[in-house]
Amino acid sequence: MQKILIVEDDEKLRKELEIFFTNNGYEVESLKTFDNTIQDILNINSNLILLDINLPGVDGEYICREIRKCSDVPIIIITSKDNEMDELLSINYGADHYITKPFNIQILLAKTASLMRRSNMEKVQDKINAGDFVVNLSNSTIIKNDKKIDLTKNELKILKYLTEQRGKIVSREEIMEYLWDSESFVDDNTLSVNMTRLRNKLEELGLKELIETKRGQGYILK
């Protein structure tokens, strides 16, 4: 399991971040004291560091530089300072991302996941095997027993999201927020059209009624 190290001095925020990342399938460790921060960070062998730059005693930017001297671990800086200068400095000191408080949690999660993937040189997961069908993310197709159908960008995103949430009811708003976070700003009608087309394509593959509509609640991928 991938390990995230949280370096944040606000105790409550730290706890909530721990819960959040644990719920999302990561192993989490965090620093509780900040007397020997740099050494502590280096001693914990993590896959990614979430670093607050306003720590008691030491400057986060300094920590960042020191870590970079002996490690290439991805670093996401979390801060409440939001000016371009600080951002630029942090990036120069070797941070990979700079996120300002209060942050969009989904974006934090997405950035974490993408950094992890890249740093581990893990081949980007380009296929989701859902058992009865396979979604190929790299060329945007859906495959079932040698039969292949192309999906549009939005259809692919919707199917990916539904597959990830399989068995759960997903509301239209949730799907839209997911699409918006990845910068497809679709409206309600477009979503309906996309859903219909996606269903038709699934039907062509003989996957009729795979996506079920729950009236007033949303959709569910069975």
């Binding site: 200068m85 408080k101 209060p102 708003e173 910068e183 409206d187």
Partner: protein, 339 residues
């Protein structure tokens, strides 16, 4: 200083000279000097005296006129003391000395307030960084406990965040120093960021977003532009028309001299007579008063102020009942030209 005024100031001197001349003349008449001497002495004294005051007049006139000319050319008039030449008569020296002292004391006074304001701004910035931590924590708690109630709290927190942001930029807009950092930024990234920021409201209120032609770069501080754009988008959301499907259209146009970013909505628009006043501080207008829009009259005022600082022009057109269009005009200059 006219010659007449100058003579007026000298009136006692002149009267005394005339009195003395008259007494001399009386003595001269009493003795049997030649007619030539009787005329020459008073004429010589009188003309010498007049030449003397004429020279004095010309000297003073040149000096004061010089000061007036400088004063008219100067934009910041208090700097005049640095430019006044040392005069060659004592009255002018007194004036210069007084001006210098007055200037110095005024500068000290101004500086006192400048420091106070700077101090206050620093406090506000610090306070804002502090308040963002509990907001972030609350948002994390909400993310870990998703339900209808927390979702509603989340929406309120978004509002708190917006107000906090506004206070930060208000503090920044009032200082003379440059808080911004200019770099090349993609308009697309800026716009996307703003839309994502407002996604919950936009999705909930079923407002459609239409973005195109945004693959242009501008030299600016993207954080400031995001804030400005956010105010404009929030206005579009606030003043949408409930009866029809709302739409916000954002696109850019590359012109010869500049890049223009358009933000168009199909909302309730602004009354014709009020358009020129929308950038005034505290102006809420008819729209601000109707229903429960809770206008503060700060949003657009701040936009204008921040745009001025960044060297961006902001224009607003609107047709009542049809919609509003805001234009942000970015100068097309290169990085180095910006200074």
């Amino acid at each position: 200083m006219s010659f007449r005024d100058f003579i007026k100031d000298k009136i006692w001197q002149i009267l005394l000279i005339i009195f003395i001349l008259m007494t001399i003349e009386i003595f001269l008449l009493a003795y049997s000097y030649g007619i030539f001497i009787k005329i020459y002495i008073p004429v010589a004294i009188l003309s010498c005296y007049f030449i003397a005051i004429l020279i004095e007049y010309i000297r003073k006139k040149i000096y004061y006129e010089n000061i007036y000319n400088l004063l008219n050319k100067l934009e910041e008039k208090y700097l005049i003391t640095e430019l006044i030449q040392s005069p060659n008569f004592s009255e002018g020296e007194i004036l210069r000395e007084i001006l210098k002292q007055v200037d110095k004391s005024m500068l000290e006074n101004v500086n006192k307030y400048r420091y106070l304001q700077e101090d206050y701004k620093e406090y506000i910035e610090m306070w804002i960084h502090e308040i963002k931590i509990p907001i972030a924590t609350s948002k994390m708690i909400i993310a870990n406990n998703k339900n209808e109630i927390t979702k509603s709290i989340d929406e309120e927190l978004d509002k708190v965040e917006d107000y906090v942001e506004q206070a930060l930029y208000y503090a920044r807009s009032n200082t003379v120093d440059k808080d911004y950092y200019i770099k090349k930024s993609k308009l697309k990234d800026i716009v996307n960021e703003c839309i994502k920021k407002n996604k919950s409201v936009l999705i909930n209120e079923k407002i459609s977003i239409n973005l195109y032609d945004l693959d242009l770069c501008v030299n600016t501080d993207s954080k400031w532009i995001i804030f400005i754009l956010n105010q404009i988008i929030q206005n579009s959301i606030k003043y949408r028309k409930k009866e029809i499907a709302s739409e916000i259209e954002i696109y850019a146009e590359q012109r010869k001299e500049n890049i223009v970013l358009y933000i168009k909505d199909n909302g309730i628009g602004i009354k014709e007579g009020e358009i020129t006043r929308v950038f005034e501080k505290g102006f809420t207008g008819t729209n601000g008063r109707i229903s429960n829009k809770k206008s503060t009259g700060i949003g657009l005022y701040l936009c204008k102020k921040l745009c001025d600082k960044l060297g961006i022009a902001i224009e607003l057109n609107s047709v009542q009942d049809k919609g509003t269009e805001v234009k942000l005009i970015f100068p097309n200059s290169s990085y180095t030209d910006m200074k």
